[in-house]
Subunit: 112 residues, 2 copies
């Protein structure tokens, strides 16, 4: 078990990619970025917090929509430079209203 943010490898901007997966459906919902502060808030509150790169501020997921994400578990990868956060969600993950942010399929190279 890991305890400390010190064990994580934040990048040169102080951020880590965090993959958000629905712990119930196993669907991958989104990829967000966590600063040390958002990581620590996520752990202490049990609700997902990110660093918004576009707005350059701390962002509690669901603060506008009410669609908070409750943490079930957080797992760091072998290099400790990425996180998998398994959550229970109250509503859609995407600002478009879709369940997941991953909704733009790329077609096959050969057009099939």
């Amino acid at each position: 078990m890991m305890n400390q943010a010190d064990e994580l490898q934040f990048d040169e901007k102080g951020l880590l990619p965090a993959i958000i997966q629905d712990a119930f459906s196993q669907q991958v919902l989104m990829l967000g970025w966590m600063s040390r502060e958002s990581y620590e808030l996520t752990r202490s509150t049990g609700l997902v917090h990110f660093w918004s790169r576009s707005r350059q501020r701390l962002w509690k997921k669901g603060e506008t929509s009410g669609n908070f994400m409750q943490v079930v578990e957080i797992i760091a990868d072998c290099d400790r430079d990425a996180l998998l956060v398994r959550v229970l969600r109250k509503g859609p993950a995407c600002h478009t209203g879709m369940i997941t942010c991953f909704h733009n399929p790329v077609d096959k190279e050969d057009g099939k």
Copy 2:
């Protein structure tokens, strides 16, 4: 459907995070980084290619271990700055021999 790498938002280093998910078990296996070249090779060959940030070179996943990853589908997110790549895998994803690179659980803030 998306066709072109031009529709993707590569970062200032020319990279995109790519979440690799087992299309059979739904397990999240790893997070890798794709350059435009590795993205195009992934599409044209049907096998996952990354850009290795540590080695600063193109990296065909499985080139050493033989554990290639066969692409089932690629889905871009709403901002087109992250990819979800659903794959069939031949062996473990992690260089440690574990199925997934995500194997370091973070314990709860309260120690429970």
